[in-house]
C-alpha cells in the first residue's frame, strides 16, 4: 500500500500545491520584496520595475515612526485584550447555563449561534445605528429612563468604543464559541463530578479542579480563535467607527494607508502588512506553545 500511496501523492496534492503557491506563497514573497521598494500602486517611483526602486529599510523606518501605525497597534492590543476576556467569559457562561437547563437546549443553542452567520460589514451598519441612536438617545441618554453615561456615544470615545466593538464582536461569536465549550463540557465524565460530590466538594471547587483542567483543550482552541480574530478584525471596525476618534485598528490602518496619501504609498502599506504578519505569527505561536504546555501539565 505504501507504494500505492506514494505514487498517487504527487498527483493528488498537485492542485493544492499550485493553488497555495499562486494564491499565497508568491504574493507573500512578492509582498515582502515590495515592502523594500518605493511602490506606488500604479508604478514604482524611480524605475520601471520593482528591483530598480529598492529603498532598503526606509518604509519600515517610516512605519515605526508613524504615529498612526503605533496608535493603531496599541489600540488593537487594547481591543484584543478586552475582546478575548469578554468573549471567553460570555461563551463559557452560556455553555454552562445551556447544559443546566432542563428543556429548550436546542432552541437556545440555535438562537445564540445565529449571529455568527451574519456578515460583519452589514451588521456593523445596524449596530452603529444601535449605538448612536438607540443607546445614546433612547435608552441610556440624558432624557431617557436609565441614564448610563458609559453606554452613551460609545462610538465617539476610544475607550468606550473598545467595549462597543467588543460587545458587537461577542454578540457575533459567543454562540459559536459556546458550542466548542459545550462539546468540551460534554466530554467531561460525569463520574468525576459524582466522586467529588461524595468527597464533599463545593460547586466552586468542582469547577476549579475538574471543569477547568478538563476544559483546557477547548480553552486552547477558543483562545486561539478569539486572539487571532480580534487582532485581525476589520469589517466591524470599518462599519462601526471607520477608525474615527482614535479607534483605528491595524487592519484598517493598512487599508487606509493607501487612501490617505497621494500618490498612494503602497510600499509603506506593504511594510505594515509584513509587520502585521510577524506580530500575528509571534502571538499565535507563543500562545499555542504556552497552552500546549499547560495541557500536558494538566
Amino acid at each position: 500500500m505504501e507504494k500505492y500511496y506514494k505514487k498517487w501523492f504527487k498527483v493528488l496534492s498537485l492542485p493544492a500545491v499550485i493553488l497555495f503557491v499562486v494564491v499565497i506563497l508568491v504574493p507573500f514573497v512578492m509582498g515582502v520584496a515590495y515592502s523594500f521598494t518605493a511602490w506606488r500602486g500604479s508604478y514604482f517611483k524611480g524605475s520601471e520595475h520593482w528591483y530598480g526602486a529598492l529603498i532598503g529599510l526606509k518604509n519600515y523606518i517610516k512605519v515605526f515612526n508613524s504615529q498612526k501605525f503605533i496608535s493603531a497597534f496599541l489600540y488593537t492590543i487594547k481591543f484584543t485584550v478586552v475582546a478575548v476576556i469578554v468573549k471567553n467569559i460570555v461563551s463559557l457562561a452560556l455553555a454552562l447555563m445551556v447544559r443546566r437547563i432542563g428543556k429548550g437546549k436546542g432552541i437556545f443553542r440555535t438562537i445564540y449561534f445565529f449571529p455568527n452567520l451574519l456578515g460583519g460589514l452589514a451588521m456593523g451598519f445596524v449596530w452603529s445605528f444601535i449605538f448612536q441612536n438607540v443607546f445614546s438617545m433612547m435608552l441610556f441618554g440624558e432624557d431617557s429612563p436609565i441614564h448610563i453615561p458609559f453606554l452613551t456615544n460609545m462610538l465617539q470615545d476610544p475607550n468606550k468604543a473598545v467595549f462597543a466593538m467588543a460587545l458587537m464582536a461577542t454578540w457575533q461569536t459567543a454562540g459559536y464559541l459556546m458550542l466548542i465549550y459545550l462539546n468540551g463540557l460534554n466530554n467531561i465524565p460525569e463520574d468525576l463530578y459524582e466522586a467529588a460530590s461524595i468527597d464533599g466538594a463545593t460547586a466552586i471547587q468542582k469547577f476549579r479542579h475538574i471543569t477547568v483542567p478538563m476544559l483546557m483543550p477547548a480553552f486552547t482552541i477558543v483562545f486561539f480563535l478569539t486572539l487571532s480574530s480580534s487582532f485581525k478584525m476589520l469589517d466591524e471596525n470599518l462599519a462601526l467607527t471607520n477608525g474615527d476618534f482614535g479607534t483605528r485598528m491595524l487592519s484598517l490602518q493598512i487599508l487606509l494607508t493607501t487612501r490617505e496619501n497621494t500618490p498612494p504609498n503602497y510600499g509603506m502599506a506593504q511594510a505594515q502588512a509584513v509587520i502585521f504578519f510577524i506580530l500575528i505569527a509571534v502571538v499565535s505561536i507563543a500562545q499555542v506553545i504556552i497552552t500546549k504546555r499547560k495541557e500536558i501539565e494538566a
Binding site: S42, Y43, G246, P264
Partner: protein, 492 residues
Amino acid sequence: MKRAVKQGVTILLAGVAALAMAGCGKADKDYDVYFFNQKSEIAESLNDLAAEYEAETGKKVKVFTVGTTEGSETMRSELKSKQYPTLFSSNAIAFEEWKSAGYALGAEEISNGELKALYESVPDALKLQFQGDGNYGIPYNMEGYGLIADQQMLQEVLDTEDLESFTEDYKAAGYEEFQGMVTALDEFIKNGSAAEFTLNGNTYSTAGEKTELTQNLNGVFAVAGAEKWTYGNHFGNYPISTVYSNVYDVRESEPDKADNLKTPIMKSLEELDFLTRYTAGPDGAVSRGPQFINSTVTGYDQAVQTFAEGKAIFIKNGNWIYANVAKVDEEVADRLTMLPMKVNFSDEDIMVEGLDVEKMNRSIPEFVSQYYIVNAKATEEEQKAAEDFLLWLNTSETGQDYIVNKFAFVPFNAGEETTLENPLSNALITYKVADDLLANPFDAAPSSWGTECYGKYIMEQLFVNPEEWSEEELEEIAGECVDYWKSGMEEW
C-alpha cells in the same frame, strides 16, 4: 430524502460549474471608448449622453462611474487591466500618480487639431500641470463654495426687497460687522424682534415680526457637523490660502513654510467657535456636544434638508447642492444665491502676494473638480476615438446642452454671456467675471490633512465641546496641524 438532496446538490453543482466556466470567459472589446468617470453626481446623465453619442456617430462609449472614496483604487486596477479606460478623470492632486505612471497624454501629443486648440484655450490658472509644467487635461467644470442662502428668506428676514445693495455692502464688510449681523439674525430668530447691524457702514435691521417663511427658522447656519470633509476641507482652505497661492505652490514649497499656517489656523478655529453657536437643526437648534456630530442629526443630507426646509438662513456649501435642495423644494432651489464666507484674518497674516483680507472677504474659492484625461498608454486608434468623444462633449450642441443643463456644471470657459439654470452657478460666474476669486490650495494638503488632522480635531475635540474653546487648546491643535502637515510633506 437524503439521496434526493444529494442528487439535487450534485445537479446544482454541475450547473453552477458550467455557469462559472461561462462567466469566466471575458467578452471581446465591444466599445470604442471606455470612459472612467469619478464624479458620481452625473452618473445617470452621462449614460444618457453616451447613448446620444452613439445615436449620432455610431460609436459606442462605455461609461463607468464610481463614488469618491474608492475611486482611485478602482481606477488604479482598471488602468492596469487588459480592458483599460481610454479616457478617465482625475482631480489636480491625484493626477500626480497618473502622470508618474505614464497615463496622461499631453496637449502636444493630441492628434485632433480642434481638441488641441481646446486644450490650449484653458487659462493658465486652470491648467492641469505636472511639476509646474505642461497641459494634460480638459476641466470638467468650475465649482465654488461659500454661504448659500434663499433670496426670499433674506428679503423677509431683512424686511427689504433690495438685495443688490445688501449684497454689495455685505461683500465689502469686514469680520466684525459680519459678527454683528449674525448676532442680530440670531436675535430675530429667537425673539422675532427687530435688531440692527451695520455692513460697510450702512445700517440694516431685521424685521419686527415673523412671516410664514421665517417662522420655521431655528438657527442662523445649517452645519453638516457629522461630515468631516465639509469643514475639514473647505473651511480649512481659508487659512491655507493665506500662505499658499495654489496647489502647485503647496507641492513646491519647503516644509518650513507651513509654520506660517499656525496663526491663520488658530484664527479660523476661533471663527468656527463663533459660527457653530448659531446652528440650526431638523428639530430645533443644535448646540455643540455629542449630538452635533451625530450623523442622523447633522449628516450631510440632514443639513441640506434643514436648510431647504427654511430652518436655517445660511448653509456653507457649494454650488453642487442645487440638485439636493431641488429634491426637497424646487422653488427654494431656484431662489438660491451665494455670498462669500467672511474670515477673521488680518493683513499681516497673509503671505500670498496680491491677496489681502478685503479681497478674501468678497471672494469665492473656485476650482476645477475633475479633469478629462486621455490615456497615453492606449493605442493610437483608441486615443483618436477618445479624443473625438471628448471634443464632441465639449463643443457640440448636444454636449454643451448636457454640460450646462443636465450635469448643471459651470463650464470652465463660461463668460458673462452664459446663463445657467442653477442660480448658484450663475453666482459663480458673476464672481469669476469680477475676478473675486480665491484659489483652492487645500487640494494639495498632504496625507488627507483636511479630514485626518484639521477636520478630525475639529470633530473630535471641538464640536463635542459646548464650552468656549480656550486659546491654549486652539494653539495646541494648530501646532499639531502644522506638524502633521510638515511630516505629511516628507511622504512625497
